[in-house]
Amino acid sequence: MIALETIREKLGVSEPWVESRGTHWLNPGAANIRDVTQAMNAAGARFVTITAHELPGDAGLRLEYHWDLQGWLLGVPFQIAGKSPESAKIDSIYDLCEAADWIEREVHEGFAIDFTGRVYEPLLLRAGDKPGVNLREAPVQDNPAPGLQGQKEVAK
């Protein structure tokens, strides 16, 4: 598909798109998320969502950005460091892609990832709660307040 190759060339990525279980994945290499967003905007791709994963051990977090291009689901993964809120950072794309607003806020709340260059208040889904207590394996703060320990620990 020509548009996919155009995106890849624009980002200067040598690895090809790889289809896997419903998504066409592109390893962005040295390109950052803002470069990718601009390439997707130029190709006329529709933003779909961001899926965040906490990786095992100290591997950090993986963010999968999804776009739709003529019915093809495109995925571009980014791995970021970060067990602590100070290190879990990635550029916000909200100013380039209005549709990313709510999902950036939701991922921030669930995983305590800082999308730099934007503000989060008021919180979207859990007003008054702290970020990172819902979908993280362990609480992000050193001394969590009573009742705010990681919910997964409670469930287990």
């Binding site: 419903g22 779909v48 969502t49 899926t51 739709d68 669930g110 889904l125 859990r126 997964k152 469930a155």
Partner: protein
């Protein structure tokens, strides 16, 4: 001088809680801020604590209206992780259930829209029609809301006599063509309450990446059933209705035309339904490590599931759900700008919002 009017979380037009803070000058809305989260249940977190059977029942409860769609999307993703494929008959049954759910959802929405227009007779007509669709869903699945139809590798119940359902489809289409569509398209009440109201321009619809009938009413011809077919949709012939005006009336037209298209798809699926098994699942499912995604065109637009599994685990490691209202809801801010305050309940309802989906 501007002032702020909070609408919600107990909403005048909708059953579910959310809040819209509107900044008004006189009777005109100049800006709005949306507040959601009143229905937050932590379902994505709960999914990680459920095994591969339990998680289907859990995700069926993300939404009461689109419960089949949610399990279909989840099961399609899980099928990619297990290497299973639903047999052809199950794929047709999935199409039938998905289209019946679309009919049920669109007719329900038409009734609510009629009520918000002050057209209560039409509300009763729509709900009587919806009841007929519910009867069919109940006849197939045994349930009126959460149907428990999907499992990984197929469906739980067969449609033993598909052709027996065709008269119901005929009657529904006849009633829509005879009563509902003409009244919605020609009545002065419907026109005055809907035309030119709550406009979402084509450019703004692209910028907000809205989906489903909300996108199609703003001139974006996207529909996953055609663009990325799943189940047996590749074998169905149907049109994707698109309107250009972007107002409440255009959203109403798109849904009305989609009801007719759903009837066409249902007739084809019932007539062509392949004989054979309805499940390819064995005793125990074996998942491979990795992530699989699946997308389905729900009545309100695209639903996407991203499911991650670790090998030999009974539970998913991560289930992320992107629902259509989550994509459409931010656009309400642009729809209500410049609107009269009295029109805002109908404008909000025009995207057919679902807050249990949005909040999860």
């Amino acid at each position: 001088m501007s002032y702020k009017i909070p609408m919600g979380p107990y909403h005048p037009g909708l059953e579910e809680p959310y809040k819209l803070d509107m900044i008004c000058e006189g009777e005109t809305v100049v800006d709005a801020e949306l507040n959601i989260g009143f229905n937050f249940r932590g379902i994505e977190h709960l999914a990680e604590t459920r095994n591969y059977v339990q998680v289907i029942a859990l995700m069926e409860r993300v939404c009461g209206i689109c419960s089949f769609i949610h399990t279909l999307t989840l099961c399609q993703a899980m099928e990619k992780l297990t290497g299973l494929e639903a047999p052809p008959r199950a794929q047709y049954i999935r199409v039938v259930m998905a289209e019946l759910e679309r009919l049920h959802s669109h007719v329900l929405w038409a009734g609510i829209a009629a009520k918000l227009m002050g057209f209560k007779t039409m509300f009763m007509t729509c709900f009587a029609l919806r009841e007929k669709v519910m009867d069919v869903l109940q006849a197939i699945s045994g349930n009126r809301v959460n149907y428990s139809m999907n499992h990984v590798g197929g469906v739980n119940r067969d449609i033993e006599d598909p052709i027996a359902l065709v008269p119901m489809i005929d009657e529904l289409e006849r009633e829509m063509m005879r009563t509902v569509i003409p009244i919605f398209t020609t009545s002065s009440t419907a026109r005055s309450r809907c035309a030119g109201i709550g406009v979402l321009t084509h450019e703004k619809a692209i910028s907000c990446a809205v989906v489903g009938p909300t996108a199609r009413a703003s001139g974006i011809p996207q529909d996953l059933r055609r663009d990325a077919p799943y189940a047996a949709y590749a074998e169905m012939k149907f049109e994707v209705p698109v309107e250009q005006a972007g107002d409440v009336r255009a959203r109403l037209f798109v849904r009305a035309l989609e009801i007719i298209e759903s009837c066409h798809i249902l007739r084809q699926a019932l007539a062509k339904m392949a004989p054979g098994e309805i499940s390819s699942a064995g005793e125990k499912l074996v998942f491979v490590s990795g992530t699989a995604t699946s997308r389905v065109e729900a009545p309100r637009g695209e639903v996407m599931y991203s499911v991650t599994w670790k090998e030999n685990s009974r539970n998913p490691a991560r289930v992320h759900v992107r629902t259509p209202t989550f994509a459409n809801m931010p656009a309400v801010r642009w729809m209500v700008r410049g609107a009269r305050l009295a029109d805002t309940p109908l404008i909000q309802a025009s995207i057919d919002p679902c807050y249990s989906c949005t909040d999860r």
